[in-house]
Amino acid sequence: MSDAPPRAGRPLHTDLPPRASRPLRTSRPILTGLPALIWLAIFLLVPVAVLVAGHVDASDVSRVLTRQSTWRIAWFSLWQAVVSVIATFALALPLTWFVGRHNFRGRRVVRAIASVGFLLPSVVVAAGFIALLPNRLHVSLATMIAAHAYFNIAVVLRVVAPRLESFDTRLVAAARTLGAGPLRTFATVSWPAMRSAVVSAAAVVFIYCFTSYAVVRTLGGVTRNTLESDIAVRAYAIGDIGGAVVLSVVQVVVIAIVVLLGRAIARDAASTTRRTTLTLSSVAGMRANMGVVIVVVTLTLVTAPLVALARSSLRVGDAWSLAGWRSLVDNNAELATPESAPPTATSASALIDSLVASGRTAVFAAIVALVLAAGLSRTVVRLGSRGRWLDAVSMVPLVVSPVTLGLGLIVTFDSGWYDWRGAWWFVAVVHSVIGLPLAVRVLVPAWRNIAPGLHDAAAVLGAAPRRRFVDIDLRLLRPALIAAAGLVAAVSLGEFGAASMLSRSGAETMPVTIARLLGRTGDLVRTQAFVLATVLVAACITALLLVESGARNHTQPRDNTHA
């Protein structure tokens, strides 16, 4: 703690030994991080390198970098992402504050529903927005930004709310007692404790918005291009793979610069965070009214496109109909009028297949990413300031264009025993790579919050390393582990870019199926797409509720420091 200035809250922690007592713990912190690094190398670095080596030459670089449109598009990607981050926080912060600081009935349900937008494939959210909004708002900058904010509420909620929960309100009380005004208390006590979480969330949201693709294409309109959408156009429509890869490198560089700037801001904040007492206020009086307004407004905004989706699933053409839902349970229902309707509607088994494939992929990706991220984030924390570069490396999967990654995987794992292109688990492996940064983001603060003295004390009392791991680390990490698993599963359920490159029939994930159905002729086929989207929404909310109830103990007030 010697590098951080004294904080108002320090005296309350004097019962914990300072970090100087570290030498008692393992001397090789890098070991737990190695599996994740190897995983990233195999499934991220190598494929991209192979693609660059095989399909890019010097002329591509100069051609792309000297083209004026490249920089126009890069500039647009940048400023729309910044505006989107601001919009996201404006939308998410009130709810995050209320949920993070207060205990009330239905809190978990609120959190689950508010997070659901993040799980949905962007094609579905875009369809929901179109179903909801009047015609003239279908394609506009404002709609595009709103959709970005909609997607990312969950990121702010999931990353910032846990920090709020573990924030010790006695610090605020102490500061106020000592004479600090509300502003000064915020600036010197609350904000420093939250800063790293806020910057962390902002960085993730920024990256998602910067690399936005489907939302930009459908709601932003064809005249608006981000680097990511231009990459897809180059690769697929024009067949300019070299140009596409160069653009994706430009994208990585721009994002790296912005994120490094963000990290510079967050620098000293991270070291001030500590595991603290959990004291959620219960809600009463003014707070209750304000809370009700915040919850109702936010949830209405979040659920409106979902309700519009559900409505679309009940309509075939201009009429209300259950045909879409019937076709999900009955293989032959779509052929209700035998000699008339051709069998182009997708069969129930195919719809169920994609449900199962999505669930399987999400579970596999979450388990793999969780194990890898737990190890990597431990290394990041144990290495202290030397771990910063590792933290940055763990973010790389977020900034690599899914189109580029997908193409790289196809050209790399293409023959002999490592021809995995058709394997069902390959998509899950890729999702574990894409989800890793989020899991690390959630787990790093959690490891950091484990007071170093706990291990030392347990060791002195005779606990073996394994016992210390189970009784201290696992126990204290549990809420974060559950949150991380939920996030990775969410990313996997909604991920489209890489899955669309790798998905296979029989193992096609739901976003891919939905996008495919939405692109085809026939009212019933479209209705089926909306049915599937509605099922996906329901599945996601259920999964989130399970995650929430798994984390139940965490949300109940308890006092660890006094145990």
Binding site: T223, V233, A237, V356, L407, I410, W424, L474, G506, G519
Partner: protein, 376 residues
Amino acid sequence: MQLPDVACHRVHRTLVGLLVLGALTLAGCGQNTQPSQGNSTTAEASTNDTAVATDAPVTLTLLAHDSFTPSEGIFDAFTAETGIVVRVVRGGDAGTLVTKAVVSAGNPEGDVLWGVDNTLLSRAIEADVFAPYVSVYRADLDAAGVALAPDGVVTPVDSGDVCLNYDKQWFAERRINPPLTLQSLTSASYRNLLVAPSPLTSSPGLAFMLASIAEFGDEWTQWWTTLRENGVLIVDSWSDAYYSHFTAASDGERPIVVSYATSPPAEVIFADPRPTEAPTAVAALTCFRQYEFAGVLRGTKHEVAARKLIDFLVSRQFQEDLPLTQFVWPSNRTATVPQEFLDYSLRPENPLTLDPAIIAARRAEWLDVFSEVVLR
């Protein structure tokens, strides 16, 4: 500082529970894969065919775009006859499919590819994606399609036309004549009435741009400039244009859309109850013809079997399934086209076309010009 044992047990239980849940899911899925493939896309070897039972059956992977939706079980007959099992793998739209085939040329993801069209063909041929094979049915196939791939590098499997579609009722109610030519679209009476998918992201969008180039030659950019001033709406995809903006298929506000010549029969055949006539019509003089091809992928380990599959894909049996499942015209001229398809379809006699070699040479340049002129 003690941590109660109860809590530890709970941690264990939760973890074990999660792992078991994961394992069950995985196991359950593993079991599910087999029958579901049989139901949806895979034709499994017929059990009563003794000749087949003695051989280890070959399984072919047929790579196709997302619009490849033949009748279920269509490959059963092929499997019964040859012992070859067909697994259909859909890999995105046609552009994505070709891009993936190009990067994995010589080391393909499958054995046969369905769905490269004449706007993309040269890109695939240049990258040496295919192993040439001349089908035994070649003499029966659409001559214009065969002429586009004369050395048999690919085989034409179907064709269709991308044309202006309009909402008949919308024009009738307002007593306005619908547009009949591309030239007429720049007239003030069609101001703000047209919605078209972008050629950068949509295959019919690209066909429509090529139609304008075939029609106007070097003047095509001027035509688009005028069209832009006349309020054309360019959107991301065909489905967005048709199902979000076209008056006849959505609550949109545009009664003219770039779509297929087979969209009117689709409007009738998919509707319940069926109308006596289609609510939409096609402007025949605006049509650009798309040919789709299938080919054996170079590097396949089952080249002989793959050739048999090409033959099956252009056989009468398979070709007759195409009109009502995929709304395209069969390439095999001996195939019988269903009456209801003929009733509502329009087959333009002199569609606009462009030489694939010219498309290949200039497509990237044209798309860049289009971006600058129209999408600014």
